[in-house]
């Protein structure tokens, strides 16, 4: 793996508390000494947030697709009748 990817992996281990503790301690020392590395940590952390949100949005889309099928497909008529009966009152 090229050097920049190794560095990404080290930052990941430090941010997500993975890998061996000694390696994380070394990364932490490097971060403290390097403003450049500190910025990379910050950006990588923001990237994880973006990935999480992207994953969440994909899941929402999948849930809505399942919901649509359940409420509109003739295969799920008994489910639809059950729900309709609840909201009839």
């Amino acid at each position: 793996m090229r050097t920049s990817l190794v560095e990404i992996a080290q930052i990941e281990n430090w941010l997500l508390k993975r890998g061996n503790p000694q390696g994380r301690l070394l990364t932490e020392a490097k971060i403290l000494c390097s403003p450049d590395l500190k910025e990379k940590v910050h950006l990588q952390s923001a990237s994880y947030e973006a990935i999480h949100q992207y994953g969440r949005e994909k899941l929402f889309q999948e849930i809505r697709a399942v919901e649509y099928r359940l409420f509109h497909s003739s295969k799920h008529r008994s489910f639809q009748n059950r729900i309709r009966a609840i909201f009839k009152h």
Binding site: M1, S4, L5, I8, A9, E12, K40, H42, L43, Q44, A46, S47, Y48, E49, A50, I51, H52, Q53, Y54, G55, R56, E57, K58, L59, F60, E62, I63, R64, A65, V66, E67, R69, L70, F79, R82, I83, I86, F87, H89
Partner: protein, 177 residues
């Protein structure tokens, strides 16, 4: 009912369908009795599924009660929270509605930009970090030769996304500060 080790083995849609069939009817009845509509019940359940999925996939959570009971409880809490926000707090002050910390959402425009400039990479990354797939599963889904090559691709994608976030950092100082 689905547990964390089964989540990756079967399709996510199958699990979601099973959750709907088993848990949505009692939740809908519960919400209807409290004056809620079908649309409100649907929205509440969607949010509960997301929270439940994240607990199973990301933290290896395994409920003490049955999974159905846990998901139903989670959905009821979401309903209380919805009521507190939209209908005033009367009658629910005794219930602890702060069951989970909300994440600060990233700006939609930034996410859209990341999607435009590399959807494949985002798909790879979310499969690993959000769905919690193993490297072998990642290789299988995206056609990488091996787990090792999936690892390298994952880091390359992360580097790319980080670069894009950096490029847009000036526009989204609030989010990135």
């Amino acid at each position: 009912m689905t547990r964390v080790d089964e989540l990756s083995a079967r399709s996510r849609s199958e699990s979601i369908t099973e959750w709907y069939v088993k848990v949505f009817p009692p939740l809908a009845a519960y919400i209807q009795r409290r004056g809620g509509s079908l649309e409100e019940a649907k929205e509440t359940f969607q949010e509960a599924i997301v929270l439940y999925y994240e607990k199973l996939a990301l933290s290896g959570f395994s409920p003490e009660k049955t999974n159905e009971a846990y998901l139903l409880g989670l959905a009821k809490k979401r309903w209380f929270r919805y009521c507190a926000r939209n209908r005033g707090r009367e009658g629910i002050s005794h219930i602890d509605i702060a069951e989970e910390k909300e994440r600060e959402p990233i700006p939609r425009k930034l996410l859209h930009y990341l999607e435009q400039s590399g959807k494949k990479c985002l798909d790879v990354l979310q499969a690993f970090y959000y769905e919690n797939l193993t490297m072998e599963q990642l290789a299988g889904r995206f056609g990488f030769k091996s787990a090792r090559s999936a690892t390298v691709q994952k880091y390359k994608c992360l580097e790319k996304v980080r670069e894009q976030v950096k490029r847009k950092a000036m526009c989204y100082e609030d989010f990135l500060s």
